[in-house]
Symmetry: C2
């Protein structure tokens, strides 16, 4: 597992970083193959806008300059972003003129939260987000699209099984309306804690919120519905009857289940997501063998998060917790080596160094990562140099031979033509 | 140029980001082809260690948690790193057991400085560093290697001509000794400002430092030597005579010029680099057509930066200013398009959406970035969707035809076999 000499700020060894880089490359490639454009936002936002939106219960890191007089007014203070959604919403407003809507973007960056570190929770962590935002409107199809893309990302990584649970805010809102529940947002926030505090805890909190016993039972019964097909529709109607908002939510959730990835997705009406800004579909993904880790991906549809008062940019997005995911991967996987190098070119004398450099340049020109020994050493020492790094091949320029130091096999080779087996060209991630 | 709605924190549009991503990919690939392993360090360091080492004159951003009581003792405070060298030195000590020495690493990350923003200076910026550190010792050859790698990086980017100026601290130290200069570090720090304050300014400051008129003339004469070959050796000896430290510096600088990239490198004895920790070679790279931008890359050899008191890890490294470099690139270059997408698959009816998705999946499976229209629209609107994004091809699944919307050419195509011209597959960077 990654080591943290500063609590909550894990760092990877070079070998672990190969695993993380593999994840990042795979994630980026999948996003780009689906047409998402990569952007980055600055690490800081005005503190006020961070506090206005999103998860204000999260601990925020506030910045001050060392040589500055303490700044009394909070509105000029800067703070580190705690997610990529709020900065992206601001980016869309700041750069509207440079964007074509619907705008599909991905963003892979670090975020920071001053929370107490615990398993799967860090103070510094990397997230990979995809969002699609429209101007004034956004077709429902994108709510299916982002789910399919995220399932494709996870299916391409050695994480074992995973489940994407989906629900719809309109469905819950309509059902709660039907049951006469007044504080529907509050009810949803309590239901969101079901997995954590259990039915008894939820009952207590909902009762405190003013729900009747029947309403509490209703909310718990609704939250207990989970189906891999669209049979939830009839179960909900049997429980709640029908109204316009409810039917809209049911239709959307059914369309998502039908259009989505049936191997990994299920309707789960206990999924609420704590955030106020979601207005339609909500998503939550867990690893089947690491449910205790919590969600490794989550998101939803938001209609009014991005607005400057005049224009509104409804959106839908999913966030993937890279740091959490890499932690899970490192439990059963490792890199074949910690360095990019496939070939070490030996150096037999100070005079032959130039010859070794020419061999290395030929190999690199053909895309083969290659190092040259920095100084002439005995062959045994040069082979140990390669061995300690996991470099599979050592090249001897004077005889123009290349040795696979794992098998000991040594063959004549032309630096203009020889290539390593494709599996040895770059480090790979394998089961450990 | 990148836009900053918050002073000093520039953000790129999606199209500008394509240019930055091209630079980042090229830099990473070049580093990896030379066997440098990628790592990242946390964004924060204890404030004390940042103040102890490096450029303490730089404004540092200190962190505090919103809900924390103000922390009276500075030693527990965290601050954002202002470069990647100091964090890397700490990383080597924290993770020694996981590293094979000499350890070659690259690191591409953001850094932060609370300085007043001006041209080429930002509060948030990305750097790409390479360093090699040995345990106890480090062969000189690596001082040549890192220079060659950085020249290869820059030669592969459309930045026009560039010059890597190199000098050697031992050379200066030995020469100053020969001239009887006592405050040799102070003299070097003043010489470092030569380009900024001119000979008159340097004369005033060196005189204030206690140098005699002859010593000032000597230091200025030494700093005026610049040669593309090793003829500086005789010029220095004619000026300063000889001593052990001087000869060591001359030999190293001569070896660097002889082993280095003669198209781009020159010995320039005015290069000092302000940092105290350099002990041998120092490097500074400027773009020939953008000298006013300042150094876009710089670094040097350091013998005692990385030490835990018992063990010492001498190193050499170069830092490349990505943000500054991308700013220079954007002045004359642009992306062929702002999205990864090469093909838009049209949708003619809600019923045919599945067919369009199958075509897209075939294309993506063969590595072609592809989007599907989110809803059925008139052909004209779908072509405008592609056109506004610079997507070169629109696919019509019902007739199995693909149209190059730039030329208007439309041909029959098999989704299992068709590929776009290689130049259209991904966005590219071209002269604007």
């Amino acid at each position: 597992m990654p080591r943290a000499t500063l609590s909550g700020f894990p760092e990877l060894t070079p070998s672990e970083r190969v695993v993380e880089q593999h994840v990042l490359d795979h994630v980026r490639r999948t996003f780009e193959l689906h047409g998402f454009a990569g952007i980055e936002t600055r690490a800081v936002e005005p503190l006020e806008s961070l506090l206005r939106k999103g998860e204000t219960s999260k601990e925020v890191y506030v910045l001050s300059r060392l040589h500055d007089a303490p700044d009394a007014t909070r509105d000029r203070q800067l703070a580190l972003h705690f997610d990529l959604t709020v900065p992206f919403a601001r980016y869309v407003l700041d750069h509207t003129g440079a964007l074509a809507f619907p705008f599909k973007r991905y963003q892979i960056q670090k975020s920071w939260r001053g929370e107490r570190p615990q398993e799967g929770r860090f103070r510094e962590f990397t997230q990979a987000d995809i969002d699609v935002v429209g101007q004034d409107s956004l077709p429902f199809q994108f709510e299916v699209d982002v789910a399919l893309v995220m399932c494709e990302v996870l299916a391409g990584l050695p994480v074992g099984g995973f489940t994407m649970r989906v629900n719809n805010r309109k469905l819950c809102d309509g059902a709660y309306q039907a049951a006469g529940i007044v504080d529907r947002e509050g009810t949803l926030r309590v239901i969101d804690k079901l997995a954590k505090i259990g039915p008894a805890g939820v009952t207590a909190e909902l009762t405190a919120l003013g729900l009747t016993e029947e309403q509490v039972d209703f909310a718990l019964a609704l939250a207990s519905i989970r189906t891999r097909d669209t049979s939830f529709v009839e179960q909900v109607r049997a429980l709640a009857g029908s109204n316009e908002t409810l039917e809209e939510g049911l239709a959307e959730l059914a369309a998502l289940i039908e259009g989505g990835d049936s191997r990994h997705m299920m309707a789960d009406l206990s999924i609420a997501r704590g955030l106020d800004y979601y207005t339609g579909t909500v998503y939550e993904v867990t690893l089947d063998e690491r449910e205790g880790l919590g969600a490794i991906s989550a998101g939803g549809r938001y209609d009014s998060l991005v607005t400057d008062g005049k224009r509104t940019f409804p959106g839908v997005g999913l966030s993937l917790g890279i740091t959490r995911l890499v932690g899970a991967l490192l439990a059963g996987n490792e890199a074949t080596r910690a360095v990019p190098t496939a070939v070490l070119v030996a150096v037999t004398s100070a005079e032959s160094h130039a010859q070794s450099r020419r061999v290395a340049a030929s190999l690199r020109a053909r895309g083969i990562p290659t190092e040259v020994m920095a100084s002439a050493e005995k062959f045994g020492k040069q082979i140990r140099y390669a061995d300690r790094r996991g470099i599979p091949f050592v090249w001897f320029p004077e005889t123009s031979e290349v040795k696979d130091i794992r098998s000991g096999e040594q063959v004549l080779a032309d630096p203009e033509a020889w290539t390593p087996p494709v599996g040895d060209l770059w480090p790979r991630v394998v089961q450990s």
